[in-house]
């Protein structure tokens, strides 16, 4: 292992004794990885790419953007029309946010299916949820910066959530705004924070990967493996090349959006400059926030809606303790597997309802779906982990391959 790594050159040894970068790089190359990782495991690398891409394009946009209520909207048009390749860089950044969330949702649902959040990986999971939370905050503030109608009214609605807090609610929202409504002070602080948060995310990503490298990757079979052994392969070149291939496929889809449908995920109202006197007919958040928006709107009480909205995210952090089943992978949990897919459908339904007007049947369905979301975590998972009869686990990763078992067919 890399702990015993000695550089071959004299200078390398001198340097490594003082700053063990070469040991780190050797560790990353040799890092023993389960040999049965499937393509759902490539999204960690894809997400790292997304974060870097967002930071680089974001820094570039920051060179041309003006964070002022009177000039922000025009500076975006300036980027789109005047700046060399400004249209490309902005479309990569705005669609990049969507691709980032697409990848993170796949990453999270992969964890849910294969039980990657369970012991000994609880900290990795919690760090991941914190990253997800920061991502939502960053994306929301980034969406405000173009100072279009959706930016302005999205900011108004979301900051007004905090006015639901009893007693101090109004003071909190005025503090957030820096005034009595969303205005220039709000815009400048959102710009400052939108620039800061990605670097906090980057720091958390380093911790996330560090925490991952302590127990090592979970795997589709979900059993503990000996490392290194015949069950593992070195990260380089086996996983690097696989991650790279997956990234290329991902980039094809990404480029499809950037070059052929750059505005399909956005809202046309955001090409109208912010007007504090006129609210657009439909206020809709970006697609990746829709499920939470549906939860918020399904509660007829202001404070209740806000509490449920935050609860729906924080409940995920308690997941490792809500699901106490010792078996990780859903492959060996026949009933959990059904509920996993049901939860996925439920979240998709919530997302769809979030995009629809909050009335009539839509509202009813949203309420049922919201209730089910919480029932899944609070009722079904704890009961299931006690009473579910799981299938027998293989002794090693090579075992099901060598004995020709077929219960991995649905991987």
């Amino acid at each position: 292992m890399s702990d015993h790594y000695t550089p071959s050159s004299k200078f390398g040894k001198w340097f490594n004794d003082r700053l063990p970068l070469l040991s780190l790089s050797a560790h990353l190359r040799e890092y023993p990885t389960p040999r049965n990782l499937n393509y759902w495991w490539t999204f960690g690398g894809i997400l790292t790419f997304c974060l870097m891409s967002q930071i680089i394009t974001g820094v570039v946009l920051g060179m041309h953007y003006v964070a002022h209520a009177d000039m922000a909207f025009n500076s975006i048009e300036h980027i789109m029309r005047d700046v060399n390749y400004g249209w490309l860089i902005r479309y990569i950044h705005s669609n990049g946010a969507s691709m980032f969330f697409l990848a993170v949702y796949i990453h999270i649902f992969r964890s849910l299916f294969y039980g990657s959040y369970k012991s000994p990986r609880e900290i990795i999971w919690i760090l991941g949820m914190l990253i997800y939370l920061l991502m939502m905050a960053t994306a929301f503030m980034g969406y405000v910066l173009p100072w279009g109608q959706m930016s302005f009214w999205g900011a108004t609605v979301i900051t007004n959530l905090f006015s639901a807090v009893p007693l101090v609610g109004e003071s909190i929202t005025e503090w957030l705004w820096g005034g009595y409504a969303v205005d220039n002070p709000t815009l400048t602080r959102f710009f400052s924070l939108h620039y800061l948060l990605p670097f906090l995310i980057l720091g958390l990503v380093v911790l996330h990967i560090w925490a991952l490298h302590v127990p090592g990757n979970n795997n589709p079979v979900g059993i503990d493996i000996k490392k290194p052994s015949s069950d593992t392969v070195p990260f380089h070149p086996y996983i690097t090349i696989k991650d790279l291939f997956a990234l290329l496929v991902f980039l094809i889809i990404f480029s499809g959006f950037v070059f052929f449908a750059p505005n399909i995920l956005g809202h046309s109202d955001n090409y109208i400059q912010a007007n504090p006197l006129v609210t657009p007919k439909h206020i809709v958040p970006e697609w990746y926030l829709l499920p939470f928006y549906a939860i918020l709107r399904s509660v007829p009480d202001k404070l209740g809606g806000v509490i449920l909205l935050f609860a729906s995210i924080f409940i995920l952090m308690a997941l490792p303790w809500l699901d106490s089943s010792k078996v990780r992978s859903a492959i060996f949990r026949p009933i959990y597997k059904q509920f996993f897919w049901l939860l996925m459908v439920d979240v998709l339904v919530l997302g769809y309802m979030g995009a629809m007007p909050a009335e009539g049947t839509y509202l009813l369905i949203a309420r049922v779906a919201t209730a089910y979301y919480f029932i899944h975590f609070i009722v079904i998972l704890p009961i299931l982990s006690k009473f579910e009869k799981t299938e027998s686990l293989p002794l090693s990763i090579s075992d099901p391959v060598l004995t020709g078992r077929t219960d991995r067919s649905d991987v």
Binding site: I56, T57, V60, M63, H64, H78, R81, D82, V83, N84, Y85, G86, L88, I89
Partner: protein, 171 residues
């Protein structure tokens, strides 16, 4: 017998081809990130400036902004013109005839930027009655040529044309 060789050659070809395509793709990705810092269309659109010179009295000069830089437009007096024309080229650090620096002898149009380190020289100052740069003491004559001090060359003449007797288009 030559089979492993052939296989190796094919593998080499795939490697070289992949790296080449990868390098081209990487370059094509990086270029927009570099080019975005070059002057943009809105800056390039400001590349010409038209100036009305009918109000300038002999011996006076005005300073106008062109591409964010100061341009001196000086209406020279007869004595200033003859002084500029009478200087021997051998005396100059950067030999240039006054005739080559003007379109009409009466009008001197030049970038008001000291060629040393970019400060704006003061007019009607210095030992040669032309311009004097306060930053590091460069003296220019009535033709804007460097005569004394650290500046290496004469002040630059921008591209300009007389649209009519009263209007100059710079750029």
């Amino acid at each position: 017998m030559d089979k492993p060789d052939k296989k190796k050659n094919r593998r080499d070809f795939i490697f070289t081809a992949s790296y080449t395509i990868g390098a081209v793709g990487l370059g094509a990705t990086i270029w927009p990130l570099i080019d975005q810092m070059n002057p943009d269309s809105s800056v390039k659109a400001l590349s010409t400036t038209e100036v009305d010179i009918s109000q300038i009295q002999p011996g006076k000069s005005i300073t106008v902004l062109w591409r964010g830089k100061p341009v001196f437009i000086k209406r020279r007096t007869q004595s200033e013109i003859s002084e500029a024309q009478s200087v021997k080229l051998e005396e100059l650090k950067h030999p240039e005839k006054d005739q080559d620096r003007v379109k009409k002898p009466e009008w001197l149009v030049m970038l008001g930027i000291c060629t040393h380190l970019g400060c704006v020289p003061l007019s009607d100052k210095g030992e040669y009655q032309g311009w004097f740069c306060p930053c590091h003491g460069s003296h220019y004559d009535t033709s804007g040529r460097i005569r004394k001090g650290p500046a290496p060359v004469n002040m630059e003449i921008p591209k300009y044309t007389f649209i009519d007797d009263n209007t100059i288009k710079i750029g």
